[in-house]
Symmetry: C2
Subunit: 245 residues, 2 copies
């Protein structure tokens, strides 16, 4: 099974200065899993054209899909479109389609500021998604999404039709245990060895009354994922497993 | 004013597969701001030695400090130490100091699995931090932190003595408005033009009853930050400002 890959390019000084916590990576990861697409890399950069452009070029060359988050509003710190133009060696042009959508939306309240949102990279494909009034910019394998989490999620949902293939989804099964990782290590090593096609993760908790370690089994062949879990559960010392899910 | 820079190398399949949301970047950002250190880049990579090693080398060459998060436990998916050894071209060796700490902590329950946590990159400096029983690995300008958020925070606090300089802290002042970004754009452009040394950010909210846009003013010279905020507040149309903080 080959796996399609994706990268997330998250743009915004507010994430690097601790003003907000990025929520869009979790949204993206959880959207891509059922599609069988593996999120392989996330990079957070400031609102700087040269940095965004360099990263966009690096990511789009090495992943099947790149999703950008943030920097698409009308203000001075919204430089994603300019950066992508720079990355692709293209011009920024005014989109008549978006301009007329903006005029219809804002009416008499429309300002030159609002019209900046009609600036796109030459050659951008506008994908209508869920709402034809708010199309999403697509540049080859780069999908340009806004930073505001609610709108990010809404626009990403609108891309599902483009992203859906016939790949099996990634699935996860979990085991919760009351032993520490040091004690579980030999059993983990054994299942990792026996199931090379299943990704096994071990996540300790810090003073959690519910459990000590969660062990996860991930893959796109669910029968193998379940077999790996059962192999592990059968091997660990009796009484270590609290529950599975 | 020159500014010390930092990067965050976040390691873990669980972040890329949507199992958990990274909380440590926010902790790091908010810890570095009062020290006057600018977090410039965050990269999230899977539990793979080659990827972690390449990224560690790229980041340590381009930033004053690199903080790694995750991958330091005893299990098969904890490969940060091996990756850093690979990055630096050094061996992984057993630390007698950590081994004796582990023996003291676990006593008779000690397993070979636990002892894996005594593996360090040759030449690692062990920094005692807040608790000499749990030293932090420091490799040149690379600080190796665990992924568990509570322990990450605790160990990062233990590094403050190493990171503290005589740099002025970064400060932020905020204005909350009930106008949209399109309408505010000319006033934002004017203050950005007039205060090149202050970073101005504009953050719209989606259907928030409290405010429409938060504008932030960031810098290490607080008098200039406040002057920029006052310049902006005086310029915007009367009645747009809800509050400042």
């Amino acid at each position: 099974m080959t796996t399609r890959t994706a990268a997330h390019l998250v743009i915004g000084n507010e994430l690097l200065s601790g003003k907000i916590q990025d929520a869009n990576t979790l949204t993206l990861a959880n959207t891509l899993r059922p599609l069988g697409i593996a999120l392989r890399r996330v990079v957070v950069v400031p609102d700087e054209v040269a940095l965004i452009a360099a990263e966009a070029n690096a990511l789009r060359a090495t992943h099947d899909y790149v999703f950008t988050s943030g920097g698409v509003g009308p203000t001075h710190d919204d430089v994603t479109v300019e950066a992508l133009a720079h990355a692709l060696g293209r011009r920024v042009v005014r989109s008549p389609e978006i301009e007329s959508l903006l005029r219809a939306h804002y009416g008499d309240a429309l300002t030159d500021g609002h019209l900046c949102m009609a600036n796109i990279v030459e050659g951008t494909r506008l994908h209508s998604g869920l709402d034809p009034k708010w199309p999403t910019m697509v540049l080859g394998n780069v999908f340009v999404l806004p930073g505001v989490p609610e709108i990010y999620r809404y626009k990403l949902d609108g891309l599902l039709g483009l992203l859906r293939g016939d790949d099996a989804p990634f699935v996860t099964h979990r085991v919760y245990l009351d032993r520490d990782e040091g004690a579980l290590k030999p059993y983990l090593d054994a299942v990792v060895q026996a199931f090379a096609d299943v990704a096994v993760g071990s996540y300790p908790r810090w003073r959690d009354p519910e459990y000590s370690v969660m062990v996860t089994f991930d893959g796109r062949d669910e029968a193998r994922v379940i077999a790996a879990l059962q192999h592990f559960v059968a091997a660990v010392p009796e009484g270590s497993v609290l529950r599975t899910s």
